[in-house]
């Protein structure tokens, strides 16, 4: 059995930033386990630009953004293993992993950071009726085929779902010579970033049909066409609105699901709204010493925020190990963070002021578009902060920063409430 203080599962943006941060906070014994043949995770196939505006104040491609962190991990001489699949993590932090060279091996860790990312929702989960031919891809699979392997999954494309990867792939497929006929979105709003709708659809004249879904797939061997229909407010197709599109490819960008099979195996509590672990102010799960960050925790809109969150996880894991793998003593009660109204969830879900840094960032998403509003924070019944927002939307993550000194002024605080209020 190998021994490391910190095992980081996943060498994508979250794992890399967590590792660098843990090292910079004094931790020597760290290993990253990555299942792919290189570090960088999904960023390696995201060859478009727009990454790093917050972190580096410049516009990088996905591989460039990943490269910055890969270089940092190399400079910090952090160990990693590639082509390595983590099979199991026990509650007492024995990590079982496997690769071709080392075979099946175990690592005893003092702390673990979960950074496995997320996967795409498949066609089956959408329950789209029809045949099951070739030519139906999740947008990310198509992105890999086109950008990494240089293959065209099809020439005439319909995209269901307006998640960011779908929008990006609408532009990508167009640039590679395919005809993207339409992007259909079940909801009355897009699940992606506004800037992607403008830059990937509007600039290329690709129509976005909101409140539409695919109701039939034609073609037994290869996709021959699909039928779109408008849906009512409950998501049910409206008879008479059917439209047929000839196409050879259907791309799906209908949501991302944090990949928490390993987390469930450890026994950490999972938040049903995010499908990610429940975490406290230290990004620590319900199993002490097991931390989570990045898209395995909740699906982010920008990688910059993943890096920031992961750095906090790395710092907190280092602190936990420095403390002798014990929870620090606390004198204050733990406070619940409560989403209200259209605020769907918060990360973290609880907070103890004794354990927190001078400032922590609370992140969440809303469930509906609201214009001209405030994002408000209440300490119990008292509104302590509000920030004017021209619009909040499900595709974009919101954040609120909480300061320790402010919280210390409320020693009897029970809950912190987050809601969106009309301006």
């Amino acid at each position: 059995m190998l021994n490391y203080d910190l095992v980081i599962v996943g060498g994508g943006p979250a794992g890399l930033a967590a590792a660098a941060s843990a090292r910079k906070n004094g931790l020597e014994s760290i290993i990253i386990l990555e299942r792919d043949h290189e570090l960088g995770g999904i960023l390696n196939q995201c060859i478009h630009n727009g990454f790093g505006l917050h972190t580096f104040k410049e516009e990088l491609t996905g591989p460039e953004y990943a490269g910055r962190f890969i270089d940092e991990v190399a400079d910090l001489k952090i160990e990693y293993k590639l082509n390595t699949m983590v099979m199991d993590i026990s509650e007492n932090k024995v990590v079982t992993a496997m690769n071709r060279e080392d075979g099946l091996f175990e690592i005893q860790a003092k702390a673990v950071i979960l950074a496995m990312g997320c996967r795409e929702r498949p066609r089956g989960a959408l329950n789209i009726p029809g045949y099951r031919p070739a030519g139906i891809y999740s947008a990310g699979t198509a992105q890999r085929l086109v950008n990494i392997e240089g293959f065209m999954p099809g020439r005439e494309v319909v995209i269901l779902g307006s998640g960011d990867i779908g929008l990006i792939m609408a532009r990508r497929m167009t640039l590679e010579g395919a005809k993207v006929k339409v992007v259909a979105e079940l909801m009355p709003f897009s699940g992606g970033l506004k800037r992607n709708i403008v830059q990937c659809l509007d600039d290329f004249g690709i129509p976005l049909k909101l409140s539409h879904t695919v109701i039939d797939i034609d073609g037994k061997e290869r996709v021959k066409g699909i039928t779109l229909a408008e849906v009512d407010s409950t998501g049910k197709p409206i008879p008479g609105t059917e439209e047929h599109y000839d196409c050879d490819t259907l791309l799906l960008s209908c949501g991302l699901i944090p990949e928490n099979e390993l987390s469930r195996g450890i026994g950490v509590d999972i938040e049903p709204v995010t499908n990610g672990p429940v975490v406290n102010e230290s990004l620590e799960t319900s199993v002490p010493g097991v931390f989570a960050c990045g898209n395995v925790l909740h699906v982010h809109d920008l990688v910059d925020f993943v890096s920031e969150e992961a750095a906090a996880a790395g710092r907190n894991a280092a602190k936990y190990i420095r403390n002798g793998s014990k929870e620090p003593e606390t004198t204050h009660e733990t406070v619940a963070l409560c989403p209200q109204g259209i605020v769907r969830y918060t990360v973290p879900k609880t907070l103890n002021v004794d354990r927190m840094d001078d400032e922590i960032t609370v992140r969440f998403r809303v469930g509906a578009v609201q214009k001209n509003c405030y994002v408000s924070t209440y300490f119990d019944d008292e509104r302590v902060m509000r920030r004017r927002r021209p619009v909040v939307a499900p595709g974009e993550m919101e954040e609120v920063k909480l300061k320790k000194e402010q919280l210390l002024k409320y020693p009897d605080l029970k809950q912190i409430i987050f809601k969106v209020e009309e301006a």
Binding site: M85, M98, R119, G124, R132, T141, M152, E221
Partner: protein
């Protein structure tokens, strides 16, 4: 000239091939798809029925009970997954309990063992997630679940090892009687044979009617299914049926041998023998119907849906035997549920008929056992570590949902009647059958197929024919 040509590589054809390979004969199995187990056999309830449904005295009843009884031994010999988990027919109206008693009587007449009616209390003890409405149930401990791909492919591989030739992508277009046999016109040329075994599923009537004046008629009866994630796999621990109706056994809820939960089927009679598209009405119907017997079905956990076509013969009976006015032409027709359960018995019956007809001698070199694809997750940590030392490809995970290694995929490609497509790999190894439904592993499995079969990526298909996965490269149009 072949001694025997079997038309159809479904479970009945492959079981017949395996049993016939016990005899000295020159046997060929033709299948129009690119793989065996590509029609009705791949899309059904995956159940080993106990045998209380079929009409006493019918061939269906006899072969069902025989097949069920044979299943442990055959699954052992041929190494495919089978579990005798028991089944329950649940009754939700007091006034319908007599129907359970009818089923019980029928089951006893058919020779089903250990069958009994349990009251509401015991039913809920056996199966805590039954709805409150359940007032009684028929409990059949001999009911089981089986892997339909595993069973069909096991029969095929074992037949191939014992000398049966498999011609895939070979569609029979016409059959003509000649002196001492038949000429089959196929899309791959002319084949001659002394005996034809017609195990063509929904097409069995077409071939029968080419050689016989006594016409038969088979209706494709479509069934839609939903498959749920493994997190829902423990929702029930037995196969739960409603009371049967005129269309069959109704919408069941069952765990699968791989730990998923299966809900289905619907029953819609159609004309098109290829129409395996699911419909919204069908999928919606399942959600409503299954909820009558089983409470809190987590239908949000659906990972895929599919439809299969039952080969429903007008008289709802298996037709197995030499056609009266077509000497040497043996029907294996109307093989709908409980066809999968009956398959081991059907195979034996067909082999008895054909060997009797032809006076075949036993094949002294017959090998009766077959090992399935090694599943490393069934090994101990030590065994697994040792395996990777010798064969590092077992240390390389390709499908991360089902944790399938490159080693298993290589095995699937290189065994007899091996995988040639993504679906072929999927049915043999489960790579791509998990919760992400091949999103992650498709490109990787495609690369392995291309490398091992020495073909280009552009030639790799989902399931043969025109089901090509990519249409070219990004440089094609420069």
């Amino acid at each position: 000239m072949y001694d025997i040509i079997i038309i159809g590589g479904g479970v009945a054809g492959c079981a017949a091939a395996r049993e016939l390979s016990r005899y000295k004969a020159n046997i060929c199995l033709v299948e129009k798809e690119e793989d065996v187990c590509a029609g009705t056999s791949k899309a059904n309830s995956a159940i080993a029925h106990a045998g209380y449904d079929a009409e006493p005295g019918s061939l269906m009843a006899k072969l069902n009970v025989q097949g069920n009884q044979m299943m442990d031994a055959v699954a052992g010999e041929l190494d495919f997954p089978f579990e005798r988990i028991g089944s329950m027919v649940v009754c939700i109206h007091e006034e319908d309990i007599y129907k359970l008693e009818e089923l019980l009587e029928r089951g006893k007449k058919n020779g089903v063992k250990d069958l009994r009616i349990v009251d509401a209390k015991e039913a809920h003890e056996l199966e805590p997630n039954l709805t409150e409405q359940v007032v009684a149930a028929l409990y059949a401990p001999t009911g089981g679940i089986v892997c339909p791909f595993g069973m069909t492919i096991a029969f095929a591989e074992n037949a191939a090892v014992n000398g049966v030739e498999f011609k895939l992508n070979t569609e029979v277009e016409n059959i003509q009687k000649i002196d001492g046999g038949y000429v089959l016109t196929t899309n791959q040329g002319i084949l001659e044979t002394k005996v034809v075994v017609n195990a063509a599923g929904v097409y069995a009537d077409r071939f029968h009617n080419m050689v016989s004046e006594e016409k038969i008629h088979i209706t494709p009866r479509r069934g839609d299914y939903c498959l749920l994630d493994k997190t829902a796999g423990n929702h029930v621990s037995h196969t739960i049926f409603p009371l049967p109706d005129q269309f069959g056994k109704g919408v069941l809820v069952t765990p699968t041998v791989h730990g998923n939960l299966l809900v289905g089927p619907t029953a819609i009679d159609i004309e098109d023998k290829e129409a395996t598209a699911t419909t919204r009405e069908g999928l919606d119907f399942l959600t409503g119907k299954a909820g009558e017997a089983v409470a809190d079905l987590p239908m949000r956990q659906v990972i895929t849906s599919f439809a299969g076509l039952r080969a429903h013969e007008d008289h709802h009976e298996f037709i197995i035997g030499e056609v009266k006015d077509a000497k040497g032409f043996v029907d294996v027709a109307g093989i709908e549920s409980p066809g999968l359960t009956s398959a081991p018995a059907i195979g034996v019956m067909v082999a008895d008929i054909v060997s009797g007809m032809m006076g075949l001698a036993e094949n002294p070199d017959f090998i009766g056992t077959r090992r399935g694809i090694l599943n490393p997750s069934e090994l101990s940590k030590e065994e697994r570590a040792k395996l990777i030392e010798v064969k590092p490809e077992y240390g390389n995970i390709i499908c991360r949902c089902e944790m399938i290694t490159e080693g298993e995929i290589l095995d699937a490609i290189h065994r007899p009647v091996g995988a040639r497509s993504l679906d072929g790999v999927k049915r043999r190894t489960r790579a791509g059958m998990g919760r992400c439904q091949a999103g992650f592993c498709s490109p990787r499995t495609m690369e392995i197929l291309a490398r091992e079969l020495h073909v280009s990526m552009a030639d790799i298909t989902k399931s043969g024919g025109d089901s090509k996965l990519i249409v070219g490269t990004v440089k094609d149009r420069l």
